[in-house]
Every structure is written in C-alpha cells, then in structure tokens.
C-alpha cells in the first residue's frame, strides 16, 4: 500500500478514538451511558441500526458472493421490511412503555427472573463468541491481503473500538456509527465508479450487464419452494422475516439502538429506515461483486485470490498438479475474455448474439470448474476445509486495482464496517451483564457512579474477551462454523419466548422456559439430522416450537409453581 493510503487508514483510526473521547463528555450516568438518556434522533438511530447489522464480513463476503453467485443472496433480506413493520406495531411500543434497559428485563415482568436470566445468558454467550468472529474474519483476510501480522490486525480493529465504546458508551457508538456508515457507502460508491471506469472502452455498462446476466448473475429471484435451497424467495420472505424479527426484536445489540430514540415513533422511524434502505444497499454491495466479476473478465485474474495459500500449495508436494491447473486456468480465462468481449461488442445482431452467448457461457463454466478444483486442492493441502476463496476477491481488487487514496478509503470502510458492529455488540454485552446480572442479582442498591464504573469495566472485559476469541478463531475455521451454528439455535427460540410474552395471554414462566428449551432442542435436532434444511428455516422452527410448547406447558403448569405468571398483558 502507498504511504498516502496508510496515512488515510491511520488518520481514520486516530479520528475515531478522538471522537470517542469527545463524545464521552456527554456521559455522566448509567442511563446516559447505555441509553443516551433516550434522546437520540431517529435518523442517527436508524443509521446505527444499519451499521450494526453490516459487519466487515457482510462487506467482504457479500461482494465475494456477488462475484461468484450474482445478486440472488438479496433474497435473504426479503422478509426484513415486513418484520420491521411488525416490530414497530408490537415490541417497540412495549419496550418504550416499560422503560427497560434490556429486552430481557421486559421478560422478567412477564415471566419472572428465571426466563430473564436464561435469555440474557444465551445472548451473552452467543454474542460474546460472535463478537470474536466479527473481529477474526476480516482480520484474517486483511492480514493476508495487506501482509500484516494477524495479532496486529486484531489489535488495530479491536483496541480503538474497545477504547471509544468504553469511554463514550452508546453516544460514542451511535454517532461513530453514523460517520462509519458514510465512509462505508462512500467507499462502495467509489469502488463502483472505478469498476465502471475500468470496463473496456468499447463495452458499455448495459452490454456488460447482459454478459453478467447470461451466466445468471442478475437473477435475483427464485420462486421454487425448496427447503434445502439456501436462498429462495420463500426462505427469504418467511425464514428471513423470522430471523429479522428475532434479531431486531429480541437481540440486545439491536434493541438497545432503538431504545435510545426520543420517542416511540422516533424508534419506529429508525427501524423503518432499514425497511426502506436495506434491500437497495444489499443490491449495491452484491452489484459491486458482479462488477468485480465483469472487471476481471477483461483482464487476467489470479486463479486463487489468497496469495498465502497460493504460495503454500505451489510449494507443496502437489505443486505439479497445481501447476497443471494453473496452465488450464490461464487458457480458460483467455478463451472467456475473448468470448465476453465478442458478446459485449456484437449486441444487436440476434443470430450472432445467441452463438456468442453460448460460447461465453461454456467458457465461463470451464473457468468455474478449474477454480473449483483449485479450491478443493487448497482445502486438501492446507486442511482448511471451509476455505472460501471468494472472500479474498474484493480486498484483492481494492489493494491492487483501486487508485491511490481510494485504497485507503476502502480499507478504512472495511475497518468501519467491522468496528461499528463490534462497538454496538460490546455496548449491549456490557448492558446485559450489568443490568440483567450485576444490578439485578448481586448489587441492587449501589450508586449510579458505581454502576457507571462497572459498566465501563464490563465493556473492557468483553472487548478483551472478543479480541482473545478472535485470535483463537482466526486459526480454527471449524470453530467459526460452530459459533454460527450455536447462534442459529437461539434466534428463533428466543423470538418464540417474546411471542408468548406479547401475544399469549395465558402463557406463564414455566411454559416459556420449557418452550425455550424445547425450541432449542428442536432446532438442534433439525440441524443434526436434517442438515440439508436451509438455516433460515431454523428460525421458523424454533419460534413455532417454543410458542406451541409454551402454550401447552403453561396450561399444565402447576399453580403456585416456582415460576408463576405475573398476569396477562
């Protein structure tokens, strides 16, 4: 990287820490630290909600997904707008009326302390570990692409984030999120401009998109109803809606964002911002990936985008096999490049178009086939069974093909995407630790200054935990997969508990606790014995099982048992 780009990245990190310190002056008590005294405007909260959801994995992985599979991943978000409307009508007014700090605090009023502690504990475990993954995934990719030391990369992402979150609380988190969203969107727009400018002179954007469309890269919607297909219209609309209801309605890292809003309607508007903008933003990110695909159609692209694995396999006992694949690949991309150019420049001639299209589709299939075999070889040689080369495509494009200055901006954007998610998660982990456990169970009568100090210590503790978990996860791919699977056990099930709390008058604490355990067991059983069922459906299964078992369990609960209902809503 050029020194100008290094300067931009360094300036971004220094500015973040300075901004965090500046904003910390507004925070002198616990309600300010965790909820900004419920004073923030809807647009700032809305941008914070979006920044929290968009991690660096989203930015890097989704552009890679666009490169490989086109824009069909956008179906994942089809249920989100509907979920935002449902949440605005249901949990948002309840949370605001109840004046809670955490979503789980609300459950105690309905079902008792056991349900509150159990759901909050599940949140702490899953979010604490996922925070490590959110640091580890981009740190690993950036350390390879930028040739940085892995520990240094984790420190560069983790330490400034922990520092400003610890000092400034939710004020710092929200206002830095707003600025980070501007950097992320600005970086993406700059990347799109460079990609379009990088097309050959005689290839227009429309012609290029026809080339991408011929291999299905612009096929966004798949109406098949197939439970084993990961992304379809139905899995996105139904499974995605349940996932969004669980994530935005029951996960403290998101609930805490809109609890900071000035009023119920401001909180609703902040959620509706995602309802309006999430799908277009995801289309922009995926289209960036499609444009990277088009960019590499007309110039030599490496067979593997991860230079470390490329060298490792080239130096291994199977180097000859790898070399043969590389020669095959070089010929295949040359054929594809010629076919793509012919197809893009001969539009209008219908007869020729059909033949050229067929040639291009066949040549693209050959390139994909060689890359798949190369990826399998890498997996066998390195032992990294979950390796996905597409995660390295966008960072490689940024560092090798973006102009000086914009490289720094894009690297800062990847940092910003990681930091905005981590900051919100650390802030919410600290809130759940202090409010749901420390203040509720251990020190209910301490002073505000004491809780503020403990909150900052808890933020620091979770930050250190996340950084250490990141270092452990970065070298253990199966752990990352495991953490994601553990998380998917919880979302639908916790959503089921909230459905019982808000929608089932006769539900009680016993029913909710039994339902929660049954829901997690059901999702675990489906994941173990029906592994082909797409994970978006896990959320539906969890929520439905918890609701049904919760209703039945509440009916048969012994009157006066340990977790009695506190009355209906």
């Amino acid at each position: 990287m050029h020194w100008i780009d290094w300067t931009i990245v360094a300036a971004y990190l220094i500015w973040l820490v300075w901004d965090g310190i500046r904003l910390s002056r507004r925070t002198t008590e616990v309600e300010g630290y965790f909820l900004a005294n419920r004073s923030l405007p809807w647009w700032a909260v809305g941008l914070s909600v979006m920044a929290t959801q968009m991690s660096a994995i989203t930015l890097v992985g989704t552009t890679g997904q666009g490169y490989a599979d086109g824009i069909r991943f956008v179906q994942f978000y089809f249920g989100l707008p509907v979920a935002m409307v449902l949440l605005s009508l249901t949990v948002v007014p309840f949370f605001h009326r109840a004046k809670v700090y955490t979503a789980y605090e609300f459950l105690e009023r309905r079902f008792g302390v056991v349900t509150r502690s159990l759901t909050s504990f599940l949140f702490l475990i899953s979010r604490g570990l996922s925070c490590g993954v959110i640091i580890a995934a981009p740190a690993l990719i950036l350390s390879i692409v930028l040739e940085w030391d892995l520990t240094l990369t984790v420190v560069a992402i983790g330490v400034p984030t922990v520092f400003y979150t610890m000092k400034g609380g939710v004020q710092a988190v929200t206002w830095t999120d707003v600025k980070q969203m501007a950097i992320i969107v600005g970086g993406l727009v700059a990347a799109v401009a460079v990609l379009i400018a990088g097309l050959p002179d005689d290839v227009g954007v429309g012609s290029a998109l026809h080339v991408a469309g011929s291999v299905g890269k612009l096929q966004a919607i798949d109406f098949r109803f197939d439970l084993t297909e990961q992304y379809t219209f139905w899995s996105g609309l139904i499974g995605g809606m349940f996932l969004a209801l669980g994530y935005f309605g029951c996960d403290q890292s998101q609930v805490q964002r809109y609890l900071t809003a000035r009023s119920v309607n401001q909180a609703r508007r902040s959620l509706l911002m995602s309802a309006y903008w999430k799908i277009p933003l995801q289309v922009l990110i995926l289209l960036t990936g499609v444009l990277v695909f088009l960019f590499f159609l007309f110039r030599p692209a490496p067979m593997l985008f991860n230079p470390v694995y490329d060298s490792a396999v080239a130096a291994s006992a199977r180097a000859a096999e790898y070399g043969a694949l590389d020669s095959e690949y070089t010929q295949a991309i040359e054929r594809r490049s010629v076919a793509a150019l012919a197809m893009a420049t001969r539009r209008g001639d219908r007869l020729a178009e059909a033949a050229l299209r067929e040639t291009f589709v066949a040549s693209d299939r050959s390139v994909r086939d060689v890359r798949q075999r190369a990826t399998r070889l890498v997996q066998e040689v390195t032992g990294d069974a979950g390796y996905r080369d597409v995660n390295y495509v966008f960072p490689t494009f940024v560092t090798e093909f973006m102009p000086i200055g914009l490289v720094g901006l894009l690297i800062a954007a990847i940092f910003a995407a990681a930091m905005s998610s981590i900051a919100a998660e650390l802030n919410s982990l600290s809130t759940a630790t202090v409010i749901d456990f420390y203040r509720r169970l251990f020190r209910p009568q301490a002073s505000d200054a004491h809780y503020l100090l403990v909150s900052k210590i808890a933020t620091g503790f979770w930050g250190a935990f996340a950084c250490l978990a990141a270092l452990a996860f970065a070298n253990a791919d199966s752990l990352i997969v495991m953490v994601n699977r553990i998380g998917s056990l919880f979302y639908g099930s916790i959503l089921g508990v909230f459905i019982l709390a808000l929608g089932v008058k006769q539900a009680n604490g016993t029913g909710a606790s039994v339902g929660l355990l049954a829901g997690m067991a059901a999702v675990g059983a489906v994941a173990a014995y029906l592994p082909d069922v797409a994970f978006l459906w896990h959320n539906v299964i969890g929520a439905v099982v918890v609701t049904l078992v919760g209703v039945i369990g509440s009916r048969f609960a012994i009157p006066g048992s340990r977790f009695p209902a506190r009355g209906g809503l």
Binding site: F78, R109, I221, V264, R268
Partner: protein, 43 residues
C-alpha cells in the same frame, strides 16, 4: 402485570405511522418487481 400496565402507550398525537407502514410495503413490492424485471431483461 395487567394489560393497562404493560400495554403499548397511545400513539403520539397527530402522528399516525400507518402511511409509513403502507409505504414500506409498497416500496418493497416495487423493488422486488424491479429485481424481477432486471433478472429477466438481462438474462
């Protein structure tokens, strides 16, 4: 906890969100229609 204690607060006066909810659903339908058209047009 009774319904009145735990229930939703009344909406803020003069600021019904219903038009916004309808707009969200209309915009989603339009965006999905555009995505469907893009898929067919560039296929």
């Amino acid at each position: 906890m009774t319904a009145s204690q735990a229930g939703a607060p009344p909406d803020e006066p003069g600021s019904s969100m219903t038009p916004s909810y309808v707009l969200v659903l209309v915009i989603e339908a339009v965006v999905l229609a555009i995505l469907y058209w893009v898929g067919r047009h560039f296929a």
